[in-house]
């Protein structure tokens, strides 16, 4: 009965209901877009660095992360790799050997990070092969390199040109090598794009005179959200000579940036929802005040104040649900389109973004949470705002109401 009454009541003043619903629809669309772009950007930022490069969890020799030198590398232990691979929470385990060197062409040189990889495993986890912009991907037995596009441009090199690597190997031996460039890699992150060189693992171990050595085992968890718990559990299982770190520990600054952006987003959304709240509250206020007489009669003939309050709350919740559902439904095609065709910045604005190490593309997220969380927020907002009529009607005296 209450639901029927509430449903009919909201259509008593169609114009007002439509206006309120429209204000909710637009605010929900705006909020979803805001949330989607923010989440899209942050996910991409994380993906660019975490998924593509560092991975969510890494195992190193104890102390490696604080002093990233080859002297802190560890011996490839089949037992360690096997026991890690058997962990059900992990999907992949990939070996890496990393060190800084000087990369040089005929006329230019630049410091870079050389990463020794297992090309097959690496492509499965970080989809490195998909980042290939030019040339072809590495095979394990290659004596060639993949160079990031930014570095190649700086050194004025292209595919099939020769890249010289000069640096220090394991235990201080000098490391020098000359490699043909097999392919150019293009990353979303301008920072990564500037200075990475990939070598097959065996060849990197040869270059750095670090036979059978690794600097990291990169782990890919089945659920990236649980990387912290998985890292903690692994750390307890492994020998104390190893350290297990999740990406937040390895890159606290990235974690802080993401967290900061999230908080900033929350502030924007609070402002937006305050605007929605005023819209809904205006309707609630009007609906409550203009129906005092009717409420008085209903209580007089035997309706309890609590049931009357519930009816009015239902009215507000129904309007909000309709508005929020409309907003969610209308935002889906917009977000899907923007997800498929992200906004690409160009010109000086793009340059400015790149200068700050940010990819000049606005990505959108289509995570279900982006959509339903807005509906939930509006629902709870309506419930909260309904406190006003709830309190007002709970105290309603039929005689005063009928004389109001």
């Amino acid at each position: 009965m209450l639901l029927k009454l509430a449903w009919r009541n909201i259509w008593r003043n169609k114009k007002r209901t439509y206006i309120t619903m429209c204000s909710i629809v637009f605010a929900v669309i705006l909020s979803i877009l805001l949330d989607s772009i923010k989440k899209g950007l942050l996910d991409k930022m994380k993906e660019n660095v975490v998924s593509i490069y560092t991975g969510y969890i890494q195992i190193h020799k104890n102390g490696y992360w604080d002093d990233r030198t080859l002297d802190n590398s560890f011996e490839w232990q089949p037992a360690l790799v096997q026991s890690t691979e058997e962990n059900k929470d992990l999907r992949y385990v990939i070996p890496r050997l990393e060190s800084f060197t000087l990369a040089a062409s005929e006329s230019y040189s630049k410091g870079c990070m050389v990463v020794g990889i297992d090309p097959e495993k690496e492509s499965r986890v970080t989809a490195l092969d998909e980042k290939l912009d030019k040339g072809s991907y590495l095979s394990p037995s290659d004596k060639a390199v993949l160079v990031t596009e930014g570095l190649a441009n700086y050194l004025k090199l292209d595919v099939n040109d020769t890249l010289v690597l000069i640096g220090q190997g394991y235990r201080g031996v000098s490391a020098a090598g000359k490699y043909p460039i097999k392919g150019l890699i293009k990353f979303g992150s301008p920072e990564l794009n500037k200075g990475l060189v990939y070598l097959p693992l065996k060849e990197s171990q040869h270059l750095f005179a670090a036979k059978n050595k690794l600097t990291a085992l990169v782990l890919s968890p089945a659920d990236p959200e649980k990387s912290q718990e998985i890292a903690q559990a692994l750390a307890l299982k492994l020998e104390p000579e190893y350290e297990v770190m999740n990406w937040q520990t390895m890159m606290p600054e990235l974690d802080q940036v993401i967290e900061g952006e999230r908080r900033e987003n929350v502030i924007f959304q609070i402002v937006l929802y305050m605007l929605i709240a005023f819209g809904i509250f205006g309707t609630i206020l009007m609906m409550t005040l203009e129906r005092q007489y009717e409420f008085g009669v209903m209580v007089a003939i035997g309706m309890k104040n609590f049931r009357l309050s519930t009816m009015v709350i239902l009215e507000n919740v129904l309007i909000s649900i309709l508005g929020a559902t409309g907003g969610i439904l209308l935002s889906i095609p917009i977000v899907l389109y923007l997800f498929a065709y992200p906004i690409q910045l160009d010109g000086k604005l793009a340059e400015a973004y790149e200068k700050f190490g940010i990819e000049p593309i606005f990505y959108f997220s289509i995570a279900p949470k982006v959509f339903y969380s807005q509906g939930l927020v509006v629902f709870f907002l309506a419930l909260f705002l309904s406190l006003y009529p709830f309190v007002k009607i709970s105290k309603l005296n039929p005689v005063s109401a009928m004389h109001a």
């Binding site: 009454l5 009717e294 009669v297 007089a300 003939i301 035997g302 309890k304």
Partner: protein, 241 residues
């Protein structure tokens, strides 16, 4: 002082409104006894306290002092929700401005009170049809209030007041907005219900047509009973004026 031989008893009933600068004594020490099946009119000039007295008898308002017993229950002792339940099961109200729920049809408006009483569906449909027939609005049962004339709305309001099978009906100026023919028709209906079902009716009214039908007229002046006279035998009010 609960005299159980009367169904409504007011004892030194006083209501003072002190919301303004000067307190107003709307009901002043009223002692009234009403018997089962009476058809009583409360009359008096505007501001004499008719509606306030009716509201106090109906438990819609709390007295400043004094007591109201309805069907042996002292309304002062009932808590808010108990009072609402008491009204729901014992008292039917008819207001001046019809006061139907605008989003419900005539049938649903009548049924509404029975829904609050948690009556079964069968019982509800039977009673609603019975009442619609009684007030002559079977053909308008699916019309909403804005599709009914003033007289028709007031007939629905009477039917709603009777839906809960109340012992008492309190009507506040029920004919004030009706033309003579419609008012007479409404009074016929109420008179018939009073006569056949023994329902006690108390009206507050200015309307001579209602006064002429009443068998007891209580005149109020400045909130106090000025005159209380029996004008006809209880069965006489059925006679057309």
């Amino acid at each position: 002082m609960n005299d159980l031989s009367h169904v409504i008893v007011t004892e030194n009933l006083t209501k003072i409104y002190d919301e303004g600068a000067i307190p107003v004594k709307a009901v002043n020490n009223v002692n009234l006894k009403v018997d089962q099946g009476e058809f009583t009119a409360l009359v008096g000039p505007s501001g004499s306290g008719k509606t306030t007295l009716l509201n106090l008898i109906g438990g819609l308002d709390k007295p400043t002092s004094g007591n109201v017993w309805v069907d042996g229950k002292n309304l002062n002792t009932l808590k808010k929700n108990q009072l609402i339940d008491f009204r729901l099961h014992n008292i039917g109200f008819v207001f001046q401005a019809y006061n139907l729920i605008p989003v419900l049809t005539a049938r649903e408006n009548i049924e509404f009170v029975m829904l609050l009483q948690k009556a079964s569906k069968k019982e509800r449909s039977q009673r609603v049809l019975e009442l619609l027939k009684e007030v002559g609005l079977e053909d308008k049962m699916n019309n909403r209030p804005d599709e009914l004339s003033g007289g028709q709305q007031q007939r629905v309001a009477v039917a709603r007041a009777l839906a809960s099978k109340p012992k008492f009906v309190l009507a506040d100026e029920p004919t004030a907005n009706l033309d003579s023919k419609t008012a007479a028709n409404l009074l016929d209906i109420m008179g018939k219900l009073n006569h056949e079902e023994g329902i006690t009716f108390i009206f507050s009214t200015h309307d001579q047509r209602v006064i002429d039908r009443a068998h007891r007229v209580v005149t109020l002046v400045d909130g106090a009973i000025y005159k209380d006279e029996i004008t006809a035998a209880p069965s006489d009010h059925m006679k057309p004026v």
